[in-house]
């Protein structure tokens, strides 16, 4: 082979390999470690307590490394991420996953740590609460939707029979059953909304329902009504899902570096009952920015507005401490101790101030009290680099403080997360939905007392086909549909009667089972509910709803706004998809042998006949 050919072949091979590598993996823009380190330094210099942004950047780099199989480097990035922001929970769980892949027992440690941190972090708590609230609402709405769908499939044929019968008699309508279905479904389309659909289904199917179905329908409608009624109350906690709320801004200021934009935002936001907290947050930011006088002013303002809170006293002491005014600092810390003796940070800082004023005994006692009050946990919640350089610690708000703040702020103003979600999904504001559903429930309960059974369609006691008083036959001592009546018409012997009815019953039931199977297989749980298996039907429907919500949301319904965008892990698709497949399998494979029958006894029918002249005349005519 000539050298030219060899060179050409080598060039082509190289080009192909390069193209393949580029095609297979186009790396994302890598973070420069120097840039991140510089940013971290800036933030720490500006007094940041925790560095969630930089932690996320590290976390993203770790994910990238995991993707490329470099697990050791990824682990280092994850540990760095935890060091930068101990409350950033994703790092713990990813570390647990990495350790689990190595079958290391450390996986359990990291997992437990992740769970513990999740329970302590306000951000994790609020994200979990908001998502859980919306997810539960969606799961409930889908499950109850399946319940209503099952009731529609079961009882609309009864209504369609009665309506079709009337259309046939009154107008001699062609295809009366199809006409009846069109008329029945038309109201659902005028205002397509969940409460109106529920109300319509309740009103028209309640008289036909069995006791168990009524109980389930009542609970379903009642739960919706409760949810709709209490949605505005739940909305009071909406500030947790609103980054523009004062609570969210204070939460940012709690741990962030000095940020004039954030300070301006907090100052510009109406206090909404959080005057002291607003001043405190501004004080914290001013303190981190080195604006001592302003910080003192803010903390004094906060103390003036709420003297029962130790946090501004501690931070006021911190400002004096950092200025070298240890006596004044000591005064601030002692005042904080008076307000809240269990303030761990206050006690620790008091101990440091005692050291500076050479009161060693008092210092050791204060340190002991600090330790008893749980200082270690608070200490560990700060960024590793920050806590190593501090002699005293800033007193910041905890998760329970933010929940209180959210509730207080929500009483004045909120974005109405739950109401908005409910309105989006149901199509009607919650309170209006409440009124509609409750009115429908009451009307159904009242109506069922007054609606005469004679007016309702029912099932043939032999074949189970739908019939009504206008078309049924009770000539053989039992209520039979028109077709069964025709089959046994003129038959006198019991033996033949039974044989005929048995044959018809078998042929009709086989056909109906097939049609029910096809109609009810599309949504899991419908078949169980259709056949009266309320509990198992609700369980299957709930499982399907949960998996569907999980599949569509792939992690979060309300996404984390203070987060980078990550590609969804495969398991977040596969697990819910498997759940959906499983629920469909249960729905398709389940054998429902026994159908609940809405039949009518002969005596009842005859009694009713006497009170219904038209029905009687119709029967006579036939």
């Amino acid at each position: 082979m000539s050298s030219l050919r060899r060179a050409l072949l080598a060039f082509c091979t190289l080009a192909l390999v390069s193209a393949a590598v580029l095609f297979v993996h186009v790396p994302a823009a890598w973070a420069s470690p120097e840039n991140v380190a510089r940013h971290v330094e800036q933030q720490l210099r500006a007094g940041a307590v925790s560095l969630p942004l930089d932690a996320e950047v590290e976390y993203a780099a770790a994910l990238e490394l995991i993707h490329h199989g470099d697990l050791t480097a990824a682990k280092k990035h994850l540990q760095t991420s935890i060091a930068l922001a101990p409350h950033f929970t994703d790092s713990y769980f990813t570390l647990a996953r990495l350790e689990a892949r190595r079958l290391s027992p450390d996986a359990i440690f990291w997992f437990v740590q992740g769970v513990v941190i999740t329970t302590r972090s306000f951000e994790a708590q609020s994200l979990f609460a908001a998502n859980a609230g919306v997810a539960i609402m969606l799961i409930f709405l889908i499950t109850s939707g399946i319940v209503w769908l099952a009731l529609v499939l079961r009882y609309f044929p009864f209504l369609a029979h009665r309506l079709g019968d009337w259309l046939k008699r009154r107008f001699n309508a062609s295809t009366p059953r199809a006409c009846a279905y069109l008329l029945l479904f038309a109201p659902f389309l005028i205002i397509p909304s969940y409460p109106i659909a529920v109300a319509l289904v309740l009103l028209v199917t309640w008289p036909f329902m069995q006791r168990r179905e009524r109980v389930l329908a009542f609970f379903s409608a009642g739960t919706f009504a409760t949810l709709a009624w209490f949605a505005p109350f739940i909305d009071r906690y909406s500030p947790i899902a609103d980054p523009a709320s004062l609570t969210a801004l204070i939460a940012q200021a709690n741990e962030s570096a000095a940020d004039p934009t954030l300070a301006a935002l907090i100052a510009a936001t109406p206090s909404r009952g959080l005057d002291a907290e607003q001043e405190t947050a501004l004080g914290l930011l001013a303190m981190r920015a080195g604006q001592q006088e302003q910080a003192v002013g803010y903390f004094l303002g906060a103390i003036e507005k709420n003297q029962k809170e130790s946090l501004p006293y501690v931070n006021l002491g911190n400002v004096y401490y950092l200025n070298g005014q240890y006596d004044k600092a000591l005064e601030g810390y002692r005042k904080a101790e008076q307000v809240n003796g269990a303030d761990a940070v206050g006690q620790y800082n008091l101990a440091q101030a005692y050291i500076k004023t050479l009161l060693m005994d008092e210092s050791s006692q204060a340190l002991k009290r600090s330790s008893q009050a749980g200082f270690d946990a608070i200490h560990d919640s700060f960024a590793e680099r920050a806590r190593d350089t501090w002699s005293i610690f800033p007193r910041i708000y905890g998760a329970e403080d933010f929940w209180r703040m959210a509730a207080t702020e929500g009483q004045h103003e909120h974005s109405g997360v739950m109401s908005a979600a409910l309105t989006s999904v149901t199509g009607i504001p919650p309170r209006a939905g409440f009124v509609i559903v409750v009115a429908a429930l009451l009307l159904s309960l009242i109506g069922s007392r007054f609606i005469k059974p004679i007016k309702l369609a029912f099932q043939c006691s032999n074949c189970g086909e739908i019939t009504c008083n206008n078309c049924c036959s009770d000539a053989h001592g039992t209520i039979l549909c028109k077709a069964c009546g025709k089959v046994v018409g003129g038959v006198t012997s019991d033996k033949v009667l039974e044989a005929l009815l048995r044959q018809r019953r078998q042929s009709v039931i086989v056909k109906r089972r097939k049609s029910i199977k096809w109609v009810t297989m599309w949504v899991p749980g419908v078949r169980h509910l259709f056949y009266g298996r309320m509990f198992s039907g609700t369980v299957v429907a709930t499982m399907f709803a949960a998996c569907l919500v999980s599949f569509l949301a792939t992690g979060y319904i309300l996404p984390r706004w203070s987060s980078l965008d990550y590609s969804t892990p495969l398991w977040q698709w596969i697990l819910p998809a498997l759940g959906i497949v499983l629920s469909y399998t249960i729905a398709v494979m389940s054998r429902q042998l026994y159908e609940m029958r809405s039949t009518r006894s002969v005596t009842r029918s005859r009694t009713a006949d006497n009170s219904d002249e038209s029905a009687a005349s119709a029967r006579t005519g036939r």
Binding site: L167, N172, S493, S563
Partner: protein, 362 residues
């Protein structure tokens, strides 16, 4: 044990007599060409001709149909019940009292007599007798008949039948009353009375046969006796029977189909409701599909804005500077397409200051 052969070895009469004398229980099947008749015996007596292994052909049903023992409506009903109930014909007949017991027993006997008569007229046939109680185990019967009298009657019929057919050579010939009064003292059989009652107006022979409720031979015999008595006479051949007129079928069909305007009205109502609903809720559904269920939340914009700010800060942390525009942010791989779409939907505007140290996002 099976006994089989054809008429060259033993005559059918001899076989029948043998079975009767020996009081055998079993099944005798006689075949000519592809036609088979079956006779069931119990202790030498004929109990049935109905081989229910062959579901398609029931000789007793054919008999009842052929001679008008049951009316057309009754036969339709009988067939319907049989099909739907899967009960045996004899069970239905006895249970439903289509015929009284006496009449049913008589018709059963007539039917067996005719079946035997039929078989004995076959020239070249083969036979096979299978004995055993299990053969007749499930065979239903309305009466057992001794072979000898039946055989004797058959012989008589075989002798007389050609003469009768000579008298009434075609089934289409018309027979009518002569108008002569019936002598009350003259003895008349029941069959004669029946046939005479049918012939108050002229009828074709086949018409009489098919309604006489007795075997053809008995009808022909009754006709002969009546003719001999001068009570009936042969008129002429008649054409095919009149068919029922199909008057006003189209009108009935129209009545059955019903009024199509109602269906049209219902479709219009349904479409109108769907249209109103679509107009009313299309925007909401589109918004929900576009931005999720929390799109109407007042904080939606704040969340998206905050998220974009977070990404911008992450970009800065990575690269040391802010992006020049949002497009650069999207291209960097920090943000995904959902964020880009949300930001575009909310028309977020990003502007970097000249020193690239701060930015505005509105």
């Amino acid at each position: 044990m099976a006994l089989e052969g054809n008429l060259n070895s033993f005559g059918l009469e001899e076989i029948l007599q043998l079975i009767a004398v020996q009081q055998k229980t079993g099944m005798l099947s006689v075949t000519i060409n592809e036609k088979t008749t079956v006779l069931f015996f119990r202790d030498g007596k004929i109990i049935s001709t109905r081989d229910r292994r062959s579901k398609t052909r029931d000789p007793f049903r054919e008999y009842l149909m052929r001679y008008g023992v049951l009316s057309r409506e009754e036969l339709v009903r009988l067939t319907q019940i049989g099909t739907q109930s899967k009960l045996d014909l004899l069970d239905i007949l006895t249970s439903e009292k289509f015929l009284d017991e006496k009449m049913l027993a008589r018709q059963w006997r007539y039917h067996i007599q005719e079946a035997l008569h039929d078989v004995l007229t076959w020239d070249q046939c083969s036979y096979k007798f299978i004995s055993g109680d299990e053969i007749v185990g499930g065979v239903k019967s309305l009466g057992e008949h001794i072979v000898e009298p039946l055989l004797m009657e058959c012989m008589r019929r075989i002798d007389e039948y050609p003469m009768l057919r000579e008298m009434f050579p075609a089934e289409g010939i018309r027979i009518g009353p002569t108008g002569r009064e019936v002598n009350p003292e003259a003895e008349m059989f029941e069959s004669e009375k029946n046939v005479l009652a049918m012939l108050k107006t002229p009828r074709a022979v086949r018409d009489v046969v098919s309604r006489a409720k007795m075997p053809a031979f008995d009808t022909y015999e009754a006709l002969r006796l009546l003719k001999d008595k001068g009570l009936i006479m042969i008129e002429a051949d008649v054409a095919e029977r009149d068919d029922a007129p199909g008057a006003s079928a189209s009108a009935r069909a129209r009545r059955q189909h019903g009024n199509p305007l109602i269906m049209g009205g219902c479709v219009i109502v349904f479409a109108a409701c769907a249209f109103v609903g679509a107009m009313h809720d299309a925007d909401r559904a589109a918004a929900m599909a576009r931005s999720g269920i929390l799109a109407t939340d007042a904080a939606h914009r704040a969340r998206v804005e905050y998220h974009v700010r977070w990404l911008i800060e992450a970009y800065r942390s990575r690269n040391g500077f802010y992006p020049t525009d949002l497009g650069e942010l999207w291209k960097s791989g920090i943000a995904d397409s959902d964020t880009e779409q949300s930001a575009s939907a909310l028309e977020l505007r990003y502007k970097l200051t000249s020193d690239r140290q701060t930015y505005t996002l509105l």
